[in-house]
């Protein structure tokens, strides 16, 4: 049995992270959190989470960055908004989950080959590159980066979908794709300014 230190020192806290979370989009009201646990109880996926949404709120505003960003919970959130609808303090929990996902990707705080962040990254890259998603190519890209053997085991299903015209090989692309790039750049710029 491996014994680990579980007590937390103040030096383990990252006050910058706590400041960031309350200034990020969706985090405006996180300090008001009463820790009532309604978010955790209403969340359909909390039964698989290592940290419940309630605990994530507390750990975030206290600045326990490592615990929060390495949590599986932020990736399990499907953005069903059940927590946000009922939150008695009107905290934008779902928005916060997105902010945390982004930060985790930025700081590479997820296990290698973990499909959900890879999927998110590839999705964004594809939108930026062609303005549209071609699902067949997105699936292939995600599997290539996470579980190549899964690509082989699912090839039978892929072939059937291809024959049914559901897996087009041709990449879709929009006209004036440069405008999408300009749009995304401008959003990124604005957010950088906001985050300061």
């Amino acid at each position: 049995m491996e014994l680990k230190r579980t007590v937390k020192f103040e030096a383990d806290r990252d006050p910058e992270f706590a400041r960031w979370i309350s200034h990020t989009v969706g985090g405006e009201r996180i300090r008001h959190c009463l820790q009532c646990g309604l978010c955790s109880a209403s969340c359909p996926l909390s039964l698989y989470m290592d940290y419940t949404p309630r605990r994530l709120m507390h750990l975030s505003r206290e600045g326990f960055k490592e615990e929060v960003l390495s949590s599986s919970s932020i990736w399990l959130c499907t953005a069903c908004y059940a927590c946000m609808v009922e939150c008695p303090k009107k905290i934008n929990i779902t928005h916060l989950m997105y902010a945390l996902k982004e930060r985790a990707i930025e700081e590479r705080f997820y296990p290698k080959r973990f499909p959900i962040p890879v999927m998110a990254q590839q999705f964004c890259r594809m939108v930026r590159g062609s303005g549209r998603i071609t699902e067949s190519w997105l699936i292939v890209r995600v599997f290539l980066r996470t579980a190549i053997w899964r690509l082989l085991s699912m090839s039978g299903l892929g072939w059937k979908l291809f024959l049914a015209g559901r897996m087009p090989a041709k990449k879709e692309k929009i006209q004036r794709q440069d405008e999408i790039v300009a749009l995304l750049d401008s959003v990124a710029e604005t957010r950088k300014e906001l985050a300061l």
Binding site: K8, F9, H32, C33, L34, E67
Partner: protein, 672 residues
């Protein structure tokens, strides 16, 4: 219409015509006791003319039923089997009084608290109810008509304690034109509230809202203010209390002192040497001092323990020189006793804060930068020892402050109760500390309890201000560093139960949010005023919901934190309630006394005088010419002590005469 049963034996023992009324009390009684069977059983008892059962005897139709029977069946004795006489004896006495029967010809049987609520076996419960009803029927036949006594009520009121509760009660009564004696133990009124900086949740300054009321007390023509005084003896009864007040010498003629404090400046001590009580020892005062700038009365006081003149008689007495022609200083002043007569008394003796030395693991008294919340109130008060600068003992500003809730509250090792105010004042202190120093503030709490108008909103505001809230009871405050960042600081260790791990948080200052406790002399005070205390030592109200400021002693009321922990709004509300209750008594102009007085059968009295010292009300005297004891009916409270103590059995008590009691006992024991 309930069924009427007429007795089959038709007997009419001793001329008594008894009506028996058995109450269902909804299902409270009827659920466990076969009320119909009890009523049928009672109908067969000798002397019973009518016996009925009814759903709610205390309701208007229930009472009308009794009154109708009294008239139609010429009843002269009534037995009601229902709840405790504490609850409805007055109701049914009024009922039969209105029907033309003397109210004391009633006997109540408690078949709810004594039977249905404490038994499960229906048959046995019914049998017990039968026994008790039988006893009551036998007893009531011997009841004699009695008359309540009326005595005039003295319109003066004594208020004990000059905190915000006593101040508010005294002002309310004085405004209504009553003469009020306000007795305060300390040299000034103001109490704990005068020591606070701001008040939650509005953050208005405590002194700004309190001192106008203090000066109003000091200048009100209807209030006699005696500070530095204590009540030493209370005698008499509701409407006519005789009170002795000890006035300690302040060695200053209050009527001559102007409060100019030139004597203080002139004192041979250049600097204060004695820990200042008002600043909780955080500053020093001289032997002659004014407790605080807004003290009421604005009269200095000399502390004989530290004044050189009292110790050596060799002081230069520069203070007397400074006072000059006013000659307000008098080293020969002696303690005096004042006798006053009042009709009602309001106790507002307040609380004391928990002494955190009893919790050694928080390091109070061991680490200089561990403070109590009250000390921090003084530190951040602009009139306090540091002129409002929140600094550590070495004069530095703290960068991190930990506030520990529930110190001496919710703890079986010290006090089990919640002190109710600590959550809110801790939030207030957190706000003020952050505002004044910009320090990181950590609150360690078990539950955040903020019920009250605007209180939850205040908590929400503090959350937004970025104060840290760690939910967990602190285990230890230590100076032992387990991490380089903890060196030279005080480390607070607690489980952050919301994060589910233990945290060690280094801070520069620890604030212990101490709870409220009864005053150390609460037991002595309650004995003097003949009231009760709860097991914790708080003064006991007559009913926790419906008589919250009354006590079991008529004419003695309680208000404020002497009754239990409470904040300023609740205290003021209670003080107003106590004043109104006192006025209700006064404005009735007389009080009715129960006729349960003792009386002496002179033929049997041997004149041994053993009853005289037994009487707690000094109601018994010795008639020299007859060589017999006599009882003053007005003073007798009907406690029964002399009745039990009389060696010749020559003292009896109205409503509790021997034959009545024996008849009742025999009734219970006479199994059918």
């Amino acid at each position: 219409m309930p069924e009427t049963r007429t007795p089959t034996n038709g007997s009419n023992a001793g001329g008594a015509r008894v009506g028996v009324y058995v109450c269902h009390c909804g299902t409270n009684i009827a659920g466990t006791v076969d009320v119909r069977a009890v009523s049928e059983y009672a109908a067969e008892l000798p002397g019973v003319v009518v016996s009925r059962d009814y759903k709610y005897m205390c309701s208007d139709p229930g009472q009308a039923l009794i009154q109708q029977d009294v008239r139609e069946h010429s009843l002269n004795r009534i037995v009601v089997a229902s709840c405790s006489p504490l609850l409805h004896e007055p109701t049914f006495r009024r009922t039969i009084d209105r029907a033309g029967l003397n109210p004391f010809l009633l006997q109540m049987v408690n078949i709810r608290e004594h039977v249905s609520w404490v038994h499960l076996d229906k048959q046995a419960a019914t049998a017990k109810a039968n026994d008790l009803v039988r006893a009551a029927v036998r007893r009531v036949s011997l009841h004699k008509p009695l008359q309540k006594r009326r005595v005039p009520i003295n319109t003066n009121v004594l208020v004990v304690g000059g905190g915000i509760a006593g101040i508010h009660a005294a002002l309310t009564l004085a405004e209504a034109g009553k003469r009020v004696y306000l007795v305060e133990r300390e040299p000034t009124i103001g109490g704990h509230m005068a020591m606070f900086d701001k008040t939650f949740p509005t953050l208005d300054c405590a002194a700004c809202i309190l001192t106008p009321k203090m000066t109003a007390v000091g200048s009100h023509p209807g209030i006699t203010l005696w500070t530095y005084s204590e009540v030493v003896k209370v005698a008499g009864y509701v409407g006519n209390y005789r009170v002795k007040v000890k006035r300690k010498p302040r060695y200053i003629h209050e009527d001559l002192c102007l409060g100019c404090q030139e004597c203080v400046t002139a004192c041979v001590y250049k600097e204060g040497k004695t820990p200042d009580e008002f600043n909780l020892g955080l500053s020093k005062r001289k032997p002659v001092y004014l407790p605080f700038p807004q003290a009421v009365p604005q009269k200095v006081v000399i502390d004989p323990e530290t004044c050189i003149e009292f110790k050596s008689k060799k002081c230069k007495k520069t203070c007397v020189e400074a006072c000059g022609d006013r000659q307000a200083i008098d080293f020969t002043q002696k303690e005096t006793l004042e006798d006053i007569e009042v009709g009602t008394i309001i106790l507002a003796t307040g609380f004391k804060t928990f002494d955190p030395v009893r919790n050694p693991y928080y390091g109070y008294g061991r680490y200089p930068n561990v403070y109590t919340s009250l000390e921090v109130e003084r530190l951040i008060n602009a009139a306090g020892p540091t002129a409002g600068e929140l600094v550590l003992r070495d004069g530095k500003r703290p960068k991190a402050v930990g506030i520990i809730h529930c110190v001496g509250s919710r703890d079986a090792n010290t006090n089990r109760w919640c002190s109710k105010v600590c959550c809110m004042y801790s939030l207030k202190l957190a706000h003020l500390v952050k505002e004044r120093t910009g320090a990181e503030v950590y609150n360690f709490y078990i539950d955040m309890r903020t019920p009250g108008k605007g209180y939850e909103e205040f908590y929400d505001r503090l959350l937004d201000e970025g104060v840290h809230f760690v939910r967990g009871r602190v285990a230890e405050v230590t100076d032992w560093a387990a991490h380089p960042s903890e060196k030279g600081r005080l480390v607070i260790r607690a489980e952050d139960t919301l994060a589910a791990f233990v945290r060690r948080i280094p801070v520069d200052m620890v604030v212990l949010s101490v709870g409220m406790e009864p005053q150390p002399d609460a037991q002595a005070v309650r004995r003097m005023f003949n009231i009760s205390c709860s097991s914790e030592g708080w003064f006991l109200e007559r009913h926790p919901k419906l008589a919250p400021v009354s006590t079991f002693t008529e004419g003695v009321f309680i208000s404020g934190a002497c009754q239990g922990p409470k904040d300023i709004p609740d205290t003021v509300a209670q003080a107003g309630a106590a004043a109104a209750e006192a006025m209700a008594l006064i404005d009735a102009q007389f009080v009715e006394l129960e006729p349960y007085t003792a009386f002496i059968s002179e033929d049997a009295c041997s004149g041994c005088r053993s009853c005289i010292p037994l009487c707690p009300y000094q109601a018994i005297s010795f008639a020299e010419e007859k060589k017999k004891a006599t009882i003053n009916e007005v003073l007798c409270k009907g406690c029964g002590t002399c009745v039990a103590g009389c060696p010749s059995g020559s003292i009896q008590q109205n409503f509790f005469e021997d034959e009545e009691i024996f008849e009742e006992i025999e009734g219970v024991l006479a199994y059918a």
